[in-house]
């Protein structure tokens, strides 16, 4: 079913402009020991060779378990952390080479929405000041007189009452605070918004409201999203393409029909099979792959394929040779596995 489906619903963004191009991005955090003389004894390989493209109007979902490096990746894309190697190109320009004024201007174009709406808003600033803060840092974006009206406009766009401009964050609920964070992210008319677990702190009923808002805004302003989350159902709903991350590397990358319909990487298969489906009649139909143990230590990852220690398909080649993220025979998405094969038994679709 997957082949036919993938061809029938061709990638709608195939011809769209590439907004963000990431190649071989690497970030290792050094581990230092010693009190007086600090020796570098190792490194946590948080992000280790990640490449992908993001196109205009598209949502790229990034899923993975805790510690897989997805939040570090978000920080690298924002240049809140400097990568050790690799390149980030924004509309063809080298984002990492930018300095000073040029960088400051470019930062307008990539914004972030954080996970926790309780800690990402300054409790001592009014909502108006929080949303207006980007304009202070980028005065060229908005003439001073117009700021207050623009803030009210933004509040309206995200579905909050513009009259509440003088209120403080504690007067809002979690979902409303997340809307404030979204308004702040939108203030400078960015091209790319990085959403780092934007709905995981919210209740189910409110989560749906925020996801609908994100989709509306994308359509209205032609935004590209990088949507980082651990909840596979949420990512499935909002993403056009999905990247699965494991221990600092991408395990699989493809259209959401490919990843969810016929996952080819064993890790993706295990991940999908573990997601409980909110339908009790499916209870015994699902083929569940229960992974043994926990992810290895990212400071000392296994040789070759990083998933091999928990993989039921692992053979000698997996320990010797690191699998590349490429399209392999018999599959349409890119998978970093020597034994990649589509498995429709663990498909998230109803058969």
């Amino acid at each position: 079913m997957s082949q036919a489906m993938a061809e029938a619903q061709r990638d709608p963004f195939a011809d769209a402009e590439v907004v963000l191009e990431v190649e071989d991005l690497v970030k290792h955090f050094p581990i230092r020991e010693g009190i007086v003389i600090k020796r570098r004894t190792g490194a946590v390989q948080a992000v280790d060779g990640v490449s992908f493209q993001l196109r205009k109007g598209e949502t790229l979902g990034i899923v993975g378990e805790s510690g897989c490096g997805k939040s570090t990746l978000a920080k690298l894309l924002m240049r809140l952390e400097e990568p050790d190697a690799g390149s980030i190109r924004f509309r063809g320009e080298d984002f990492l080479a930018m300095r000073g004024e040029e960088l400051r201007r470019m930062r307008r174009k990539i914004q972030i929405i954080f996970q926790d709406p309780y800690t990402s808003l300054n409790p001592r600033m009014s909502v108006g000041d929080i949303i207006a803060e980007p304009f202070k840092l980028h005065p060229e974006a908005q003439p001073k007189q117009g700021i207050r009206n623009r803030v009210k406009e933004l509040l309206d766009v995200v579905g909050l009452n513009p009259d509440h401009i003088n209120r403080y964050p504690h007067q809002f609920s979690g979902g409303q605070r997340q809307r404030i964070g979204i308004a702040r992210g939108l203030a400078l008319n960015p091209d790319v918004i990085i959403c780092d677990e934007p709905v995981s702190a919210l209740d189910v009923s409110v989560q749906a409201q925020v996801m609908n808002l994100l989709e509306d805004l994308q359509e209205e302003f032609g935004l590209s999203y990088i949507f980082i989350a651990h909840d596979l159902s949420v990512v499935r709903h909002i993403s056009d393409r999905v990247a699965v991350m494991y221990l600092g590397k991408l395990a699989e990358l493809g259209l959401d029909e490919e990843i969810y319909g016929a996952p080819a990487h064993p890790y993706t298969q295990a991940l999908l099979s573990a997601v409980p489906v909110p339908d009790p009649t499916m209870r015994h139909d699902r083929q569940e792959i229960v992974l043994q143990g926990d992810p290895p230590n990212p400071a000392n990852p296994p040789s070759g394929c990083r998933f091999r220690t928990r993989c039921w398909k692992a053979t000698e080649i997996c320990a010797e040779k690191e699998p590349e993220l490429i399209v392999r025979p018999g599959i349409t998405q890119r998978a970093a596995c020597h034994h990649a094969a589509q498995n429709e038994d663990v498909s998230a679709f109803e058969s």
């Binding site: 378990e65 805790s66 609920s173 979690g174 979902g175 409303q176 209740d203 189910v204 009923s205 409110v206 989560q207 749906a208 409201q209 996801m211 609908n212 989709e215 651990h230 596979l232 159902s233 949420v234 499935r236 709903h237 909002i238 959401d256 029909e257 969810y260 295990a270 991940l271 999908l272 573990a274 997601v275 409980p276 489906v277 909110p278 339908d279 009790p280 009649t281 499916m282 209870r283 569940e288 229960v290 992974l291 926990d294 998230a348 679709f349 109803e350």
Partner: protein, 353 residues
């Protein structure tokens, strides 16, 4: 030292073995704060039988954790206050018991697993010691014997090399392993009732599957009554037998798990199910429930869900609906439960937009 085995002298303390395992009857719990009285639980009813899994489903602030703490008797009082109702364990009201008797129940007959294992375990004591404490305090075991029991339990909950790890501290374990240690402590004395308060919320999805499977196995083995407190409709569908959906401190709907997913009898349950992004279907726009849950200090009169309900009428804003049957074993607190259940009722026109 006594060598009593479970259930330790339940007869002489006035328990009725034929009564339901746990009955919550019209429970009211409130918090008296400076900002007013927050009514966290407002007339809660449910029954749990042996070997049964009851899921209590609700969003934050719906009163599900307060209910768990009240059953365990670990609610902070003050500011907490039990304003009415009864909780009966095998027919005996917990609130009438002297504290000493409740203490003998806690951990022995009724046990609990917390959401965040790292903050629930003592960081300065080895995990083996913490598990062994259950045997030493409640059973009067000597240290060596208790430690042996702890190792056995750690093996039972699937901790590799339990013999070696019994002296390790909580921070040396991963999240999933810590949750297993909590489970080991909770089941140490073969409780009849196990309350699991969001046991897998802090865990990754693959680890969540392992832990839920373990809980289910242990439940079957010991014929425990399991109260699973969660907000995750997926986990509920996977393991529960019965569901009680809570909203603003009340049960809105309770039924068999298959029944409730197929034919919800309350607009809130229906709304929750529809607002869920599904992994097994490409969603169009999500049907979000508009608005927010009410503040517990200011619960609206009538049905607490009425301000957000697409079906609500004048009646809903004035009269509080009681929890009444809509089908066999299926109760709903909605004036229009029959129509919702049969799917006849259409949302108000202005609510459809």
């Amino acid at each position: 030292m006594t060598t009593t085995t479970h259930p330790a002298g339940t007869e002489q303390e006035g328990y009725d073995a034929s009564a339901p395992l746990l009955e919550v009857d019209d429970l009211h719990v409130e918090f008296r704060t400076k900002a007013g009285v927050a009514r966290a639980v407002n007339g809660l009813n449910f029954t749990l039988n042996a070997g049964e899994t009851l899921a209590i489903l609700g969003e934050s602030g719906s009163g599900k954790s307060v209910t768990a703490q009240t059953i365990m008797g670990i609610l902070d009082m003050p500011p907490g206050h039990i304003a009415g109702g009864e909780i009966r364990y095998r027919g005996k009201n917990l609130f009438d018991m002297p504290e000493e008797q409740r203490r003998r129940l806690r951990g022995v007959n009724i046990s609990m697993i917390f959401q965040d294992a790292l903050s629930a375990l003592n960081p300065v004591l080895p995990v083996g010691f913490q598990i062994a404490e259950m045997f030493r305090v409640h059973r009067g075991f000597k240290r060596k014997q208790a430690r042996e029991e702890a190792v056995k339990l750690m093996q039972k909950v699937g901790i590799p090399a339990a013999e070696k790890r019994v002296g390790d501290y909580p921070h040396q374990f991963s999240g999933g392993m810590r949750q297993r240690i909590m489970i080991a402590m909770a089941i140490a004395l073969d409780p009849d009732v196990l309350i699991a308060d969001e046991p897998t919320t802090a865990l990754d999805v693959t680890v969540q599957a392992q832990v839920m499977r373990l809980l289910k196995e242990l439940q079957t083995e010991n014929n425990m009554g399991l109260i699973l407190i969660t907000h995750d409709l997926g986990v509920v569908a996977d393991v529960a037998d019965k569901i009680a959906v809570m909203y603003a401190g009340r049960v809105m709907e309770a039924a068999d798990v298959f029944e409730i997913y197929a034919k919800p009898g309350h607009p809130y349950t229906k709304g929750l199910l529809e607002s869920l992004p599904r992994i097994d279907a490409e969603g169009e726009r999500l049907n979000a429930i508009p608005g927010l849950p009410p503040a517990l200090t200011n619960i609206p009169p009538g049905c607490p869900f009425s301000p957000r309900c697409p079906y609500s009428t004048e009646l809903c804003r004035t009269d509080r609906p009681e929890l009444l049957p809509v089908a066999e074993g299926h109760v709903s607190a909605c004036h229009y439960r029959e129509e919702i259940y049969s799917g006849e009722l259409k949302p108000r026109e202005e609510a459809q937009a």
